[in-house]
């Protein structure tokens, strides 16, 4: 303890100092029930627990970070990549005057892969494979949503809406 009751500052009136000593004795008794060892181990455990997940991405760069990512995260990332590629492909098809039926079936992925059944997924993969030659003109690897212009985004959106209209 830092301040023993008798060391209370002398600027307190005597009756207040006495009352404070009495209160402090009660507080000291209650404080004595707190187990410092138990506090230390719980605090350290919490600090360790908090430090572990935060340090993981820094410890596991590049490919390892990808491999160690949870399955749902990898599926989501893959789905996002397909959407981007597919969107780019659609634009390529539109621009080159290609088969519209093929183009509009691709952005179904944007609706959400979870909502597709096995047959639809197969169809999506087949379509993606079919239009790949067209897409080579669209810089597949470097495309992301952020890079698409307003008109390109609008074209993808229209394609999605059209597919949704056809499937309803």
């Amino acid at each position: 303890m830092n301040a023993l009751p008798n060391e209370l500052p002398d600027e307190l009136p005597e009756d207040m100092a006495r009352a404070l000593r009495a209160l402090d004795a009660g507080a000291t008794r209650r404080a004595g029930r707190v187990d410092a060892d138990a506090v230390a181990s719980r605090v350290l455990a919490r600090l360790r627990e908090e430090a572990e997940p935060a340090s993981l991405p820094r410890v596991l760069p590049g490919r390892w970070a990808w491999v160690s990512a949870p399955g749902w995260m990898r599926v989501t990332a893959a789905a996002a990549m397909i959407v981007v590629v597919a969107g780019s492909v659609v634009l390529g098809v539109f621009r080159s005057g290609g088969d519209r039926a093929v183009a509009v079936s691709v952005p179904v992925a944007a609706v959400g892969l979870d909502s597709l059944d096995a047959k639809q997924l197969e169809s999506l993969l087949r379509v993606t494979a079919d239009v790949r030659p067209v897409a080579t003109t669209v810089e597949l690897a470097s495309r992301s949503w952020d890079e698409l212009s307003e008109s390109q985004l609008r074209a993808v959106l229209q394609a999605v809406q059209q597919v949704q209209g056809e499937t309803l």
């Binding site: 303890m1 600027e11 207040m16 009495a22 009660g26 404080a31 187990d35 506090v39 600090l47």
Partner: protein
């Protein structure tokens, strides 16, 4: 030998060791400051069943925020300020709950029942009135009168000037004196 060194190390050294990954240094800091922190929280009315958690949370927050501890105040003052902030936040959650009655350990006054009753009454009034003080007044008052810290330390720990700490203490004492009469 390591244990002996830890025992005499000051808080600054222990903090530096903990920051390089020495958990024993952190454990030593907890050992050193648990009692004053718990006492500081208890006298402000922290319920018994919450005291342990509050102490733990204060240390956790302190260790997590060590990067922002510039050493202007002592580790203890800084920790007590963190504890006071936590207590303030928890009070909001406790508002609808029954608040623990602070019990004063009134010393035996030579078997004089009237004197004992008066001392008990004064302690209870003081407890109530401490709780009614403005936050800074209460913290400065307790850091000075209960924890025995000097005004410089209090000022650094609470982020106020030393003069301001003195003024808060003065007003707190004045107000308490008026109300426990």
């Amino acid at each position: 030998m390591g244990a002996a060194l830890v025992a005499v190390a000051d808080d600054g050294e222990l903090i530096a060791r903990y920051q390089t990954g020495d958990e024993r240094a952190a454990a030593e800091l907890v050992q050193r400051h648990t009692a004053p922190l718990a006492r500081f929280l208890a006298i402000q009315g922290a319920p018994d069943e919450e005291l342990d958690d509050l102490v733990q949370d204060a240390f956790f927050k302190a260790f997590r925020g060590l990067a922002s501890f510039r050493g202007g105040s002592t580790f203890r003052t800084w920790l007590l300020a963190i504890g006071a902030n936590l207590l303030k936040d928890r009070r909001r959650q406790w508002k609808k709950r029954v608040v623990v009655e602070l019990t004063a350990d009134v010393p035996d006054r030579s078997g004089d029942p009237a004197a004992e009753a008066e001392a008990g009454w004064t302690a209870e009034r003081l407890s109530d009135e401490i709780g009614k003080l403005a936050r800074l007044q209460r913290e400065v008052f307790l850091l000075r009168a209960q924890q025995g810290l000097d005004y410089g330390e209090i000022a650094q720990g609470l982020g106020i000037s030393e003069g301001s700490a003195r003024v808060h203490f003065h007003h707190a004492v004045k107000r308490l004196k008026e109300r426990i009469r």
